[in-house]
Every structure is written in structure tokens, then in C-alpha cells.
Symmetry: C2
Subunit: 210 residues, 2 copies
DNA sequence: CTCCTTCTTGACCGACTGGTCTAATGATAG
DNA sequence: CTATCATTAGACCAGTCGGTCAAGAAGGAG
């Protein structure tokens, strides 16, 4: 770990992510890391479940953290690919229409790979030093895009101006983050869309009677 | 652990919670359990930080789980005491006034003991089997009071009826749960009240311009 | 065949875990 | 004083952890 410095072994050597060819290891790592914290996750379990040997693992990875980072990288690539299909940064949508689209994309990915959501939420409960290490490798990807969306919408007069933008952005962020609590796994697509529209309605018009 | 069956040693023997007289152990356990998952938390660290010996610890507790449960019990008693001072179950408040009061109480306790919030949120990310064990001891305390508040308010015509009660209750629950993200630790009391009122306004009237 | 590199194997390491147990200590009673 | 009790002390246990390493297998090049 002290040797790693948060870098990935395969990145040093300009080789592709060693998880790419190894679906067994990828699945095992995702299973374990999405259900256990980094410290609690047993590397032995992962390796055993993947049908691998310790030596082979350490031939390709520096350590446990290297595997974790490689997994995050693979997942973020997959997510970006999905989101890229629906890129709307240039369209001049209504604010709530943008939020709606964002929520739909998030749910689509979450339903495709539920373990990813579990993993990223679990990451937020890791120790601060660990989070800093990981963020240090992946860079500040988490720049607050929501806050700027809200600021923009307020300037355009699409949302009320008597509430601070920080508060609004936070409300949207919290709800988008836990949107899975509203969407059940057994729902049909049209039901999911209905739930999202309900949520957007609440955010737009509130819950009180008019 | 197999001997424990999820019960607390001191409950068996009708003695008071052994954490009560031992502030050092209580503080150490709260420190560690609020920053680490149950599995990751080191009992050795807790005992050392409390200036205790292993033998003394195991004289009073069955095991690590017993300590964890005793800590939860103590905290829940403290929280109930605080909430009891402001019991409003019999008053005929407006729905949003009730929510406002609930949010204020939650924040008051969270600011008094921030580690408790961290602990209870961390509990939700523990393994299912562990959560079931703990819930089995404490009973289904988590009966959804919010859902019934929403149903009631809808019957009284205080909130709109075109959104499902489940959705609304979930939205309120999610936001109440993460209300700490909106309240900064260095805020004065009047600032906190202002933030809560902002949040209530959003929930009541929405974010769109009228 | 030999030589060399790449990759695999699994025994092994020290550190740490939750938990046990026996011997010693302190206090109180008769 | 002795006897009995509750409590403390910490060495010790088996098991797991992440990580290392020397030996050998596999395969291509000459």
C-alpha cells in the first residue's frame, strides 16, 4: 500500500484494466465490495470466488486498493458510456426536464447494475482518509454540477429566488441520491417513469394543496 | 456470540446498563462505532481507549455485540428523553408544523451528539443478517410514523391527493434523514431555524416560480 | 534440445482479531 | 486471623487478515 501511493499498477505499465478480461474476478469483487466496506471486504474471499490464486492476483495488482480502484474505473467507464448516449449539455431544456432526464438515466444505470449504486453509496461511509486517497486518484470528478444547474435555472427565472441555491441543490442531490428508495426492482418501465414524474411534481409544485 | 442470542448480559441479570457508570467506555465505544462498521470496529481499540482490561470487559459483557447493543440502548433512551420534552402527539397541529417540529428535534439531538447520527446511519449499511439481529432485540421500533402522518394530513385536506402517500412519506423520510447536510455545525440557532423553514417552504410550495 | 521470459502456485509470514482462562487482588464478613 | 466473594489483570488461543516469495510450469525463439 505504501508502495502504491494510490496509483494503479496497470496504469503505470500502460496496459489495459486487468479486470477487463477477467469477468469472474470482476463479478466477485463487485459482489464483495458492494456488500462490505473496504476494510471488511475479504480479499481472500474475492480471490477464492473468482477461482484465482493469490500469486496470480498479486502479479497483476499491487494490493487490495489497486483492485478496488480498478473496479471503480471500470464501472465509471460503463456509466459514462451509458450517459454519453443521452448527452444533453448543449440542449436548452427546462430545468425540471433536465432533472427528470438525469433521474431517468441514473435509474436506468442503477437497474442495469444495482451493485454499483450500493458500492458508491458505501464509499461515502468509508473513513475520510480512505475517501481522500480514492478521490486523489480519480480527481475531483464530483464537482457540483447540480449547483450550477440550479443557479442557471434561477437566473432564467425557472425556479423561485427566495430560497438559497445551496439549499435547493442540496435537496435535489439528496433525493436523486436515494431515488432507489422510491423505485422498486419489480416495476415495469412505465411505472418507473410514473414515479419519477410524481417526484418531479413534488419538487416543482410542493406537497401542499394549491 | 452463539451464547448471546442477541440478548444483553446485563438485561439477563436485571442490572442497569453497565455503560451508565463508565463514561470512558461509553465515549470510546461511541467514537469507534460511529466511525467504523461493526465488523471493522476493533474491540481491542475500544477497550484500550477506555483504559480497561479484557477480563474486566468480558466480566460485564458477553461479547462485542453486547457492547454495541448496550450503546444503542443508552443512546435511544437519551433520545427518547429529549423528544419526550416536546411530545406533540395529542396536539392538532398543521401537518407542516408537525414536520417542522420533528426536524427541529432531530437537529437538536444531532447537534448535541453528532456521533449518534453517524452511528445510526452507519447501522443502515451493515449486513442484512446483522441488522436483523439487532432489530430482533430492539423490536420493530421503526414502524413508519411518517406514513400515517401523511395519510392523516391527506384526509384532512392539508396536502395534495394526486401524489401517492408512499411517495410523499418517502420524500419526507429521505430529507429528514439527511437534514444534517443542510445544517452546518457552526450555525447559530436562529440560522438553523431559518434553514429548516426554507426546507419546509420547498416541501410545501415546491421550487418552481408561482 | 536449451535459454529466457511470462505467468501460476500455494506454503508461509507477521500482525491483528474476538474471545478464554487462570492466577492474583481487594473487600467484606465472621 | 481466615474464608468467601466479586473483580481485575493480561498471557494466551485459534483463526483470519493482507501480502510475500521461491519454486516451477508454459510457451515461444534460436
Amino acid at each position: 500500500m505504501s508502495d502504491t501511493n494510490g496509483k494503479m499498477k496497470w496504469q503505470h505499465e500502460g496496459v489495459e484494466n486487468p479486470l477487463n478480461g477477467n469477468t469472474a474476478l470482476c463479478e466477485a469483487a463487485l459482489d464483495v465490495f458492494s456488500t462490505h466496506s473496504f476494510g471488511e471486504a475479504s480479499l481472500n474471499d474475492i480471490i477464492k470466488a473468482a477461482g484465482m490464486n493469490k500469486g496470480s492476483f498479486y502479479y497483476r495488482f499491487y494490493d487490495k486498493l489497486d483492485l478496488y480502484l480498478s473496479l471503480l474505473q471500470r464501472l465509471s467507464v460503463e456509466k459514462l458510456e451509458l450517459f454519453a448516449q443521452y448527452d444533453d449539455t448543449n440542449t436548452e431544456d427546462d430545468f425540471f426536464a433536465s432533472i427528470r432526464k438525469k433521474a431517468m438515466l441514473g435509474i436506468r444505470f442503477a437497474r442495469k447494475e444495482p451493485r454499483y449504486n450500493a458500492l458508491s453509496r458505501r464509499f461515502l461511509t468509508e473513513e475520510l482518509s480512505f475517501r481522500e486517497t480514492v478521490v486523489g486518484v480519480f480527481g475531483g470528478v464530483t464537482e457540483n454540477v447540480l449547483l450550477r444547474m440550479v443557479e442557471n435555472a434561477q437566473l432564467k427565472g425557472q425556479i423561485r429566488s427566495d430560497i438559497s441555491v445551496q439549499m435547493m441543490a442540496e435537496v435535489f442531490a439528496i433525493l436523486l441520491e436515494r431515488i432507489d428508495r422510491v423505485i422498486m426492482p419489480d416495476m415495469q418501465d412505465y411505472e418507473v417513469l410514473g414515479k419519477i414524474d410524481e417526484l418531479i411534481t413534488v419538487l416543482r409544485n410542493g406537497t401542499a394543496v394549491k
